[in-house]
Symmetry: C2
């Protein structure tokens, strides 16, 4: 009885699919079979979409979102209200807020939260670019600085320490 039920190419596909969140070894095998059965409708387009993603996706230099353009689609959107900056932990949070469709704002992706136990300090997060994004008036906060006056922070409870604080501003 062979340990491998198929050639190494299929086993490799199954193993890689099993690394996706939401898929375990069994569901990865089902997914591989489904892909192979739907070769023209799904396997070929998905392989092509992955190739494009691999080649073209970049991190937005302004907000930290990921997109195929820099600045990203959101940062290039002139209809966005630039006076609201929503600070999120990850790109997934940004996407979730966008899907909810409640905000007409700009974002800043921290890339994590402060977690001394895990060895994550301020230098590991996108704090410097956040300060730059907020400090539009030559780095000084003045009463005339309307931009980014309101700043929502959408991070998990563990991220309380990550919330940027500035007297009377947050």
């Amino acid at each position: 009885m062979a340990e491998k039920v198929a050639g190494p190419e299929i086993e490799k596909l199954v193993q890689l699919l099993a690394k996706l969140p939401g898929l375990g070894p069994r569901s990865a095998r089902r997914a591989a079979l489904h892909l192979i059965r739907k070769r023209e409708e799904l396997l070929a387009p998905l392989a092509e979409a992955m190739r494009v993603a691999q080649e073209r996706i970049v991190v937005c230099s302004i907000c930290g979102n990921i997109d195929t353009s820099d600045p990203c689609t959101i940062c290039r959107d002139a209809r966005r209200d630039g006076s609201i900056l929503v600070v999120v932990e990850t790109v997934a949070d940004l996407w979730a807020l966008e899907r909810a469709g409640l905000l007409n704002a700009r974002y800043h992706v921290l890339g994590g939260v402060l977690s001394p136990l895990d060895g994550v300090g301020p230098d590991d997060l996108a704090i410097a670019s956040l300060v730059r994004a907020c400090s539009q008036c030559n780095g000084r906060w003045t009463d005339d600085c309307a931009l980014h006056r309101r700043c929502a922070v959408a991070v998990r409870r563990e991220g309380d320490a990550s919330r940027p604080r500035r007297a009377g501003r947050w």
Copy 2:
């Protein structure tokens, strides 16, 4: 507020991932983000594995298994006991039985079960090739025909009608 949170390339990737069994729209988005974060370790190898699968995977002309070679790995395995033919509904069943590792047999994939309500008749299943696989003695069943005398049928209960019957043989 844009309906699309990212460029069309990422949205396309998410939509295609959502078509995999086990992934819904939300988990597909998580999977896409995970792939993009792990570009070198996961996205690139998975895209390549899919390309290889798309180009090289074929259906075994003997048993109906899928593999990158025809005959498939199992049919080419000389250590298999050719006197046992396990008839299964799908390739997924074949793989599940192989993973269990209890059988040293050959297989035949029916490709479904008889289901008049769904319009699936004998002509839609791999019955002819099953008869060929079983009828090794010029299509006649004789007492000397040792090959494929034992035939296990591993199909769902709905597939009872699909079970091949031949007086005293099954």
